[in-house]
């Protein structure tokens, strides 16, 4: 018998793996540039979710995870700190994800601009129509 949290975690991980495959398929094999960019954002989101899962404290059985904010620092009690470090979610992957989201925004914006430029020149966003270069 699996618990509810295990059930959700399994669904999450399954979705992530499927998304990863779909996103890579979309980036490489979809001819439409907009669809390629959407696939790229899906890939980025999958990577970010993966980072959050790595930082999530799912290995502490029976203890609910806490946000990584230590509020009892005034009390000077080392035991509280110990409990905090045992149960709090790792904040570093969240910092990584924040950075990755910002970078992803910039890259996506730039690619969308290029797509717009391609539309202005070729009146198409289909890679098959755009293909002039040999590679």
């Amino acid at each position: 018998m699996i618990t509810l949290s295990e059930y959700f975690m399994t669904i999450l991980i399954t979705c992530m793996i499927v998304n990863l495959g779909l996103a890579l398929y979309g980036v490489f094999f979809k001819p439409n540039l907009i669809k390629k960019i959407i696939a790229l954002t899906i890939l980025g989101d999958t990577a970010n979710t993966f980072a959050l899962i790595i930082g999530y404290r799912m290995w502490v059985a029976g203890v609910p995870s806490r946000p990584p904010v230590f509020t009892e620092w005034r009390s000077n009690n080392p035991l509280l700190l110990l409990v905090f470090t045992k149960t709090a979610v790792d904040p570093l992957p969240q910092a990584l994800v924040l950075t990755a989201i910002v970078i992803g925004l910039a890259v996506t914006l730039f690619l969308v601009f290029l797509t717009l430029q391609a539309w202005k020149i070729y009146r198409s966003v289909d890679m098959r129509d755009i293909k002039r270069l040999k590679g």
């Binding site: 980036v27 980072a51 293909k131 590679g135």
Partner: protein, 535 residues
């Protein structure tokens, strides 16, 4: 707290370049002069070059790595920069070539309708490259690769009204962004396995696990292998290693000529550097992926380099476009670099590995300088003839004797002719493979050089020696030919000073990438950790 000047300069160089870049549009509005952005970028690159030279001088003289923790946070907690002789040397090279590229861009200025945007991206490219080189944090490397990447994509698409330029940038950008995202996934796996992203600490942990907890190797090895494979894609993509080379021949003809010089001469080296850093310093012979997985990764890199060296050399013969020909030459030379990089498999004596890595560094220098020279001088010819087509360029070199002489010296160096840098770097590659007992790659270096002679000879013949079929239009050089001649002299010096350079490079390889060099890298991290904690 005592101010440590080398550390401060290490930390300041990339933020300073960012300041230079982002004040540019405002200042360009204030001054309103069309030449101003170029001069500003030249100042920025000269400042960066002087700073990186100073860093290199300090690292070389003291023999100690510089570690700078941003914001005063000790290395594994905050982001840190770590400079050892290897990345200091490549950074000096990069920064000075960027000075030359900035000077050339000033000459090229009339092609730019809005020069301020071009120069922001050029400074951004330099900031990205220096950041990639100096960083001691694997996640910061990801950020810097994106800085470098987005500047490079945008520079390729600079002539945004040309369809080919936009297409080349789309190709380069979409796959590049995918590769970088996969590198991010690799980093997350590394973080999950090791609990840190600091390169020094990763290296230290690897060594400790290898010698003290061999029972953990089996469980950590597979995950680490996956992470390393994901990480290597983006590095090999940036350095255009076969089969990731497809963007390079498309991007070069469409990019402005100084950008082609930067992409082929410098950006390629960043990928090679990052792979060397990953496969030698972090996941070296004493790590969780050693020896079988590491050998497998190095063998894969070797095979791709081998195929790439041949594909580049053969494709070069079929090209009609001068810049595409040079691009395929880059693919070929990148292949050689990766073949040299893969020399450090298990069972190869350490002296041979040091020789191979020194040869790789030497080839990075000679190829980078030679390729930058070739792109810049071909830019003169292309402007004069108004076409990139080799038939249209026939005989254009006769009008510019000094530029032609530099152009030919560049080609002869890439070919590997005796007194020039290219010969000695190829000789050193050959020696390294022989020492390592790898006969086939040693012969491949010679065969690849022989094949590529055909492509180079075609380009040299049609540009300089062929009879002009039409009247070429004369362009003003404004002294740019003296700079090109200076680079040609640099290539000759790289060859003539071979005994000293090779000794120095072997020292660099020994003190950065293998044996006690890796230990020094780890020790510098540990010392910085304690110093910043106040112990």
């Amino acid at each position: 707290m005592a101010w440590n000047i080398p550390e401060l300069i290490t930390g300041a160089i990339v933020p300073l370049l960012a300041v230079f870049a982002f004040t540019l549009p405002l200042l360009a509005k204030v001054f309103g002069e069309k030449k101003f952005p170029g001069i500003w970028a030249l100042i920025a690159s000269i400042v960066a070059a002087i700073m990186s030279t100073y860093i290199f001088a300090v690292v070389w003289r003291t023999g100690k790595d510089i570690v700078y923790g941003f914001g005063g946070w000790p290395p594994p907690i905050g982001i840190s920069y770590e400079v050892d002789p290897f990345n200091a040397l490549i950074a000096v090279f990069t920064a000075w070539i960027m000075v030359l590229i900035s000077i050339y861009s000033l000459w090229y200025n009339r092609h730019f309708d809005e020069p301020e945007w071009y120069y922001i991206l050029l400074i951004g490219l330099e900031a990205g490259m220096l950041g990639c080189l100096y960083t001691g944090d694997a996640f910061n490397l990801f950020v810097m690769i994106e800085v470098l990447g987005i500047s490079a994509y945008a520079l390729v698409a600079y002539h945004k009204h040309r369809g080919e330029a936009v297409e080349a940038a789309i190709k380069y950008g979409i796959i590049g962004a995918t590769a970088t995202t996969l590198y991010f996934i690799g980093l997350v796996i590394i973080y999950g396995v090791y609990g840190t992203l600091n390169m020094g600490q990763l290296s230290l942990l690897n060594t400790e696990i290898y010698y003290q907890r061999p029972d953990l190797i089996a469980s950590m090895g597979v995950a680490t292998l996956l992470a390393v494979s994901l990480a290597l894609w983006v590095f090999t993509y940036k350095s255009a290693l076969f089969p990731n080379h497809f963007w390079l021949p498309d991007a070069h003809p469409e990019a402005p000529t100084p950008v082609s010089a930067a992409l082929s001469g410098l950006v390629v080296n960043i990928g090679v550097y990052a792979v060397a850093r990953f496969m030698y310093t972090i996941f070296g012979p004493a790590s969780t992926i050693a020896p079988y997985y590491r050998d497998a990764v190095l063998t894969a890199l070797f095979v791709m380099g081998f195929v790439g060296a041949f594909v580049g050399a053969i494709m070069m013969m079929a090209q009609k476009d001068l810049k595409r020909l040079l691009a395929y030459s880059t693919v070929s030379h990148t292949g050689l670099l990766y073949m040299a990089l893969a020399v450090g498999m298990s069972g190869v004596p350490q002296a041979a590995v040091a020789l191979g890595l020194a040869a790789m560094t030497y080839h990075v220098l000679t190829h980078g300088l030679g390729k930058a020279l070739l792109f810049m001088s071909s830019g003169v010819f292309i402007d004069s003839a108004g076409t990139r087509d080799l038939d249209g360029l026939a005989g254009v070199g006769r009008r510019y004797p000094l530029v032609s002489a530099s152009f030919i010296i560049g080609f002869l160096s890439l070919m590997g002719l005796l007194p020039l840098g290219g010969f000695f770097s190829k000789l050193m590659l050959y020696q390294a493979f022989m020492e390592a007992g790898m006969l086939v790659p040693a012969l491949a270096v010679i065969v690849v050089s022989a094949i590529s002679v055909l492509g180079y000879a075609k380009a040299m013949y049609s540009v300089v020696f062929a009879t002009p079929t039409k009247e070429h239009h004369e362009i003003k050089l404004y002294g740019i030919h003296y700079m090109l001649a200076l680079m040609a002299v640099g290539l000759i010096l790289l060859g003539v000073l071979y005994p000293w350079i090779s000794q120095g490079l072997i020292h660099v390889a020994n003190s950065s990438l293998i044996g006690y060099g890796v230990r020094e890298y780890q020790d510098a991290f540990v010392k910085a950790f304690h110093a910043l904690l106040g112990r």
